[in-house]
Amino acid sequence: MIANLIVGGLAAGCLYAMVGIAIVIVLNITDIANFAQGEMAMLTTFFAYWLMDSLGLPWWQAVSIAIVFGLLQGIVVQQVVIRPLIGGPVLSAIIATLGLNVVLNSVAGMIWGHQTYTFPSPFAFSAPFMVDGVPIAVDSVVNIAVGLVIIVCMTLFLRFTWIGLGLRAASQNQTVARLMGVSITRTSAIAWGIGGMVGAIAGVLVAPSLFLDTNLMGALLIKAFAGGVLGGLNSLIGVFLGCLALGVAENLAGAYVSPSFADATTFIVIIAVLAIRPEGIFGRVRVRKA
């Protein structure tokens, strides 16, 4: 029972973590909390659905194309909406992403309507794995595996490639990064592209279990923010572990404390953690000389 709950929590946590990573990459480079991330992923998922449903593409092809679409979408959004806002008040940029959130939601609503669709998954009907007598659903395993692959790839990418190095430099100090020859507009476009791509993967994975509709990602977005803050926003590993912890805590609170207070219990835990460690569990405290 408890093992089941934990595995379920980890699987949900990995989905939060994907959205969380998408948000944090953008946040660290541009200081903008992207409220449109959820709807961007939702639109990409609908695009994948359209590819399968209308063009009859197989799952793998549709999903691969959709992930590329997510990447391009992120870059376009950055170029059109965010680029003019660089240098202005951060809060204005955040509200602009909120507006974009509304726009994307109603665009999807106009194209596909507000009914729910069943998003196919190649893993839906596979028999669950049995580990030590505990049945584990295949899509949980897939979520966890994909989550792990993404976090490992992102860490390697940020640590060992020139582009990743540029991203890290830009997130630490933009002026110095620019002096070292890192183009801030290009890095920021790359960050948004990565965000769109990772978000797209999360959308495709979450859609089969939640049914596809225009409000697919709303709850996930808030959870991703919360998990990221819990772990500490300035390290990817922190965000990942924070989101996993959030997923597990939510499942356990739902089962053992009270199902209707699961959300509230989780947030109480988050507030308590933040009261003790204001930068999140794994966050580094930045000493600010003002």
Binding site: L85, S92, F225, V229, S260, L274
Partner: protein
């Protein structure tokens, strides 16, 4: 609706102080006679604008002056609404008294929320306050014996000293409270507290070295802000006559915040313009068949891209130039 357009004209008052007070007076006068020229629905929208203006004033105090983000204002709004409604409906307290009692209760909650918020900044603060919002909303939802839970509460017409307040009566009550709220916000923001908060927003270390006790002022800012939201909530409950916990969700908190930013952070006029934008623009967009959301969202983006200081900041700049 003519009144909202007139509110937008206020900033020309920046040209000279004499004209300024004349224009403010004119706006107040227009707002005072508005019920005679408007139909029921337009009056409802105008009342709603004034209620949101109150929330905006409070939130602007916290975000614009103290630089603190809050995503639990919908919950303060909701607690104010429920406290007023329950005191009036179930305990039989006179409406005005329960409005203020409810607001004081919410103020206390605001001060409590501020305590863990003292250590947090930016998005960490946003998530912590969002958490408080979720918890408060959940408490309202689950405390069925008192609040009616998900079924909500239906309310009778409010009653002041034996007279039932109709739509016009409630409009005037809201108008008076909003005017008081504007006056209060104007005073507080220019006084000791407002100036202290402005310093805290720029640099807490500088504030500390000037002898400003930052935590104390932050708690005050949260408390005042919650008070405004709760008064607005108490009015809102009796404007719509039916409240339900779903109305006070995180989405509403986010709308409040964008209202303030669209209007112009840290300005009193911005609260009015932002509230008017949020209430009236969606109404004007009803004509667009499927797309009110699309156009509204685009407007949000466009306003932010071209006027990062908000509508009021833009108007102010134009007025300053002419």
């Amino acid at each position: 609706m003519s009144t909202a357009a007139d509110i937008l004209r206020v900033p020309r008052s920046r040209i000279s102080p004499g004209w300024g007070s004349a224009l403010v007076g004119l706006c107040l006068l227009l707002a005072a006679v508005a019920p005679f020229g408007l139909n029921g629905y337009a009056l409802y929208l105008l009342t709603l604008t004034e209620i949101f203006t109150l929330v905006g004033l409070g939130l602007n105090f916290l975000t614009g002056y103290a630089g603190q983000i809050s995503l639990c204002h919908a919950a303060f709004f909701g607690v104010g609404a429920y406290a007023t409604a329950i005191l009036t409906q179930k305990a039989g307290v006179p409406y005005l008294l329960s409005l203020f009692a409810g607001a004081l209760f919410t103020t206390a909650i605001g001060a409590i929320v501020a305590v863990p918020a003292l250590r947090l900044k930016n998005i960490y603060l946003a998530i912590a306050t969002l958490g408080f919002g979720v918890v408060l909303q959940k408490i309202i939802f689950e405390w069925r014996s008192l609040t009616g839970g998900g079924g909500g509460l239906a309310l009778n017409a409010p009653n002041i000293a034996g007279y039932d307040l109709g739509a016009t009566g409630l409009y005037y009550l809201t108008f008076v409270l909003m005017t008081l709220g504007l006056f209060g916000a104007w005073n507080v923001s220019r006084g000791r507290t407002g100036r202290a908060l402005l310093v805290i927003k720029d640099s807490e270390i500088a504030a500390g070295s000037l002898g400003i006790h930052a935590p104390r002022y932050k708690v005050i800012a949260f408390a005042i802000s919650a008070f405004y939201a709760a008064i607005a909530g108490g009015l809102f409950a009796y404007l719509v006559r039916y409240i339900n916990p779903e109305s006070f969700s995180v989405g509403l908190s986010i709308s409040f915040l964008s209202m303030v930013v669209i209007g112009g952070v840290g300005t009193i006029g911005g609260s009015i313009v932002g509230a008017a934008f949020y209430v009236i623009v969606p109404e004007l967009l009803r004509g667009f068949k499927d797309a009110p959301g699309l156009v509204f969202g685009l407007l949000l983006v466009v306003v932010m891209v071209f006027m990062p200081q908000g509508l009021w900041g833009m108007v102010r700049r134009l007025a300053g130039r002419s």
